[in-house]
């Protein structure tokens, strides 16, 4: 296995690990806030579950980029690029970074927004959709990062 391939794999793993970590923490933060509300008002469960799930998408985006890297490197078709150049390896690594870093941060910040929206929903259940929209705004930047990662990953080889 070449150094390039190793670097590319590390990059791909990081995007799943780090973005997934952000989402895991984020979903947990929102979930904690939601349990408090649900214990008092069980009928809000459905609405709060959606709000809780919102910071979970970044982890999926990170995972998506990892899979794309594996597809590009030929792991899924059974013929991996064993002789990947070091420079290309770094290129893959760099391509994974937008979703790795922004995925982590935006999941954490989105989780804070989700917590506030959950508190708002607790006071005013009809405002759940507004809270959802405001929380989703944070995700825009994770989506932009994801796009940059995708466009780079799919065009290196």
């Amino acid at each position: 296995m070449s150094t390039g391939l190793l670097i590319a794999i590390i990059g791909a793993l990081l995007s799943t690990i780090v973005a997934g970590l952000g989402s895991a923490i984020g979903v947990q933060m929102a979930g904690k806030a939601a349990t408090g509300v649900v214990s008092e008002r069980p009928e809000l469960f459905g609405k709060l579950l959606i709000l809780q799930a919102l910071p979970g998408t970044q982890g999926i985006y990170g995972f998506l980029v990892s899979v794309l890297v594996f597809v590009e490197l030929g792991f899924l078709s059974g013929s991996p690029e064993l002789a990947l150049e070091t420079a290309k390896g770094w290129a893959f690594f760099g391509a994974c970074m937008p979703i790795t870093i922004i995925g982590l941060l935006s999941a954490l910040y989105q989780a804070r927004m989700a917590v506030y929206s959950i508190q708002m929903t607790a006071k005013q259940p009809d405002a759940a959709a507004k809270g959802m929209t405001m929380t989703v705004l944070v995700e825009t930047y994770a989506i932009l990062a994801l796009l940059v990662s995708i466009l780079l990953v799919t065009n290196i080889i």
Binding site: A53, I60, L64, I143, L144, L147, L151
Partner: protein, 632 residues
């Protein structure tokens, strides 16, 4: 479309007030107007308390009730029954409450009994009735507890003084003891025992032995438990009539609504003011005529400074999507109804985001069956309808992408037009083009609105100019049309510069303000770029489906040779397929729902929508449990 409203003013005699309210509530066509200073509402505290009671009792009965049937039956109640038979249902409620209270009472009693049993258990071996334990002339009797570790010391001290003792049962208080001291030694013995934490425990002066007392209490406990069982059986019987309590809840909340409806009373009459749809005026007149012959009633168009509530009326396809708009804001009654345009785009964009023919079919069938079987109502029903309709676009886009449950398949030699995974760039361009068209359609709605208001300059300068600019920039990327595109964009930009600031008389200010408006183009750019999420979401659901299939295939292994293991592997692979795709479908629905909504709210509505209205909430029966009232 937005339905025009009429204002209705009704005056009836005071004695007809309640009947009028009842009849208006029956039609459910009038939204009463409240004038904060002069409107009056009746007191509905009784109803509120009654509602709390029914809800609590329904909660208590829940565990005694049969599970709801898989296929929901509609709960239909006759209107006459609904408005007249309340007392017998309240009686049922009271009976259930009494039964439950008795159970609570018995349970509290049992707790005390258990406590008593625990207290007397250590004295069980004491064969003397309690009231016989009295000091005699020469012997002083004691009962109490000593910690087990000091038992030896206790025996030693008593032996030293020649006292008689008996060790009884043990509890968490310690070893129960009964002993008799010679009267002269009593003080000394007690003094020595105190050093070993002896605690005196006087027994009640009862003419019973511990054993008798215990069996008496046990019998009582048994009787209580039997009674509780009996009562619980009674509750289980009552639970069969829980439907009546549900009807009662709806009855009482409807009365509450009626009582708290705002009216303006005078000495002999009652004045009611409200909004009604212009096409339902007859129904209101009918309701009043049914009440009384002595009335005065007038319908008028809203005055310019009045804001009537908004009622939107759309066809079967568009109507469910109204909830998406209403979650954001209710349209103002004076603007164009955004729903027809919005629903179309929501439908399309949702489909691309899901983008799998298999998932589309599942959505269509699942939500269709769910609506048929569980018969939800209100917003839930509308949401499921949206998801069901979006199943159609999901299928169409799935065929375009050649994706069937994550597998690439091209039946009948259909070539895939586009696959997000293989052509991300083309897919991105398509997403942005859809974004551009979406925004242009928003601008067209605005143009139509201004056209209706006969503000033709606004049509030209606020909508067409931007459309020209957007179309021009779009053409610019196509080699054949780039020349035309240049001129279109330039024309659009010039219109904006010269006309956007038309409110300013000063030409310099006007141009300045126009240039500032042109700067708004950056906003349009970020709006259009925001549609790149269509690619991201469509790809993420596609890739996860692909990965789930890979996982399942790994489990499944080679199917070419047949053996017992292949069947096991195949079954396990089925589980992976099922769980994986259900998860992906659920996550995909959630993302598509929020992100398709967001694109409407921020990018699309931002171009034209005011949403400064409020919803039409007429005086009507408040039905939580009842699905239908049969009016004969």
């Amino acid at each position: 479309m937005i339905v025009p409203m009429k204002k209705v003013q009704i005056v009836v005699l005071k004695e007809d007030h309640e009947q009028l309210m009842l009849n208006l509530q029956k039609t459910g066509e009038v939204m009463l107007i409240e004038h904060p200073e002069i409107s009056q509402k009746s007191d509905a505290t009784t109803e509120e308390i009654m509602l709390q009671r029914t809800r609590k009792t329904l909660g208590l009965l829940k565990k005694y009730r049969d599970k709801p049937k898989f296929v929901k039956e509609l709960n239909k109640v006759d209107y006459d029954d609904f408005v007249s038979n309340i007392d017998q249902r309240i009686e049922l409620l009271e009976k259930i409450e009494e039964t439950y209270e008795e159970i609570q009472h018995l349970k509290a009693d049992n707790a005390t009994l258990q406590e008593t049993l625990k207290t007397y258990q250590p004295w069980e071996q004491l064969t003397v009735p309690f009231d016989k334990i009295v000091n005699t002339k020469y012997a002083y009797l004691h009962t109490g507890f000593i910690e087990p570790r000091y038992c030896q010391d206790f025996i030693r001290i008593l032996d030293e003084h020649g006292s008689e003792y008996e060790l009884l049962g043990k509890t968490y208080d310690g070893q129960a003891v009964f002993f008799a001291n010679y009267y002269a030694d009593d003080l000394a013995v007690m003094e020595s025992l105190r050093a070993f934490n002896f605690t005196e425990n006087a027994l009640p002066k009862l003419p019973l032995t511990a054993n008798q007392l215990l069996s008496e209490k046990e019998a009582q406990l048994q009787a209580n438990n039997d009674r509780i069982k009996e009562l619980e059986e009674a509750l289980a019987q009552y639970a069969k009539h829980a439907g009546d309590l549900e009807i009662l809840t709806d009855q009482v909340s409807s009365i509450e609504v009626r009582k708290t409806a705002p009216v303006i009373p005078t000495d002999a009459t009652v004045y009611v003011e409200g909004w009604v749809r212009h096409d339902r005026v007859d129904k209101v007149i009918e309701a009043i005529k049914e009440t009384t012959d002595i009335f005065d009633c007038e319908f008028s168009d809203p005055l310019p400074d009045e804001l009537p509530p908004t009622v939107t009326q759309n066809n079967r396809f568009v109507a469910p999507f109204e909830i998406i708009t209403n979650m954001f804001a209710t349209p103002s009654p004076y603007e164009v109804d955004p729903n027809p345009m919005m629903s179309f785009w929501y439908w399309i964009i949702f489909g691309i985001m899901m983008g799998d023919a298999g998932y589309g079919l599942v959505m269509l069938l699942f939500f269709w069956a769910f609506i048929k079987i569980k018969k939800p109502k209100g917003n839930t029903l509308n949401l499921y309808k949206i998801l069901m309709y979006s199943g159609i676009t999901t299928m169409i886009w799935g065929i375009v992408f050649g994706s069937y449950f994550g597998f690439e398949w091209h039946p009948f030699g259909l070539k895939p037009l586009l696959t997000p995974l293989n052509n991300p760039l083309e897919m991105l361009v398509m997403s942005l083009v859809i974004g551009g068209l979406h925004i242009i359609s928003g601008l067209l709605v605005k143009a139509y609105d201004n056209f209706r208001k006969k503000d033709f300059v606004a049509v030209f300068s606020d909508s067409l100019s931007w459309i020209l600019l957007l179309v021009g920039i779009g053409f610019f990327f196509l080699p054949q049309l780039s020349n035309i595109g240049k001129y279109l964009a330039l024309a659009g930009a010039l219109i904006i510069v010269f006309f956007a600031g038309r409110k300013n008389r000063n030409p310099v200010k006007r141009i300045g303000s126009g240039l500032y408006s042109l700067y708004g183009a950056t906003g349009y750019m970020s709006d259009i770029l925001s549609y790149s999420r269509i690619l991201a979401l469509s790809m993420s659901s596609g890739v996860i489906a692909l990965v789930m299939n890979l996982l399942a295939q790994m489990v499944q292994g080679d199917l070419s040779t047949f053996s017992f293991m292949t069947i096991i592997k195949l079954l396990m692979a089925m589980v992976v397929y099922f769980v994986g795709h259900v998860f992906n479908l659920a996550m995909g629905l959630l993302s598509a729902y929020v992100h398709a909504s967001r694109l409407q709210y921020i990018e699309f509505f931002g171009k034209f929508y005011e949403g400064s209205g409020y919803a039409f909430t007429p005086l009507e029966n408040k039905l939580t449990y009842i699905d239908e009232l049969n009016v004969n």
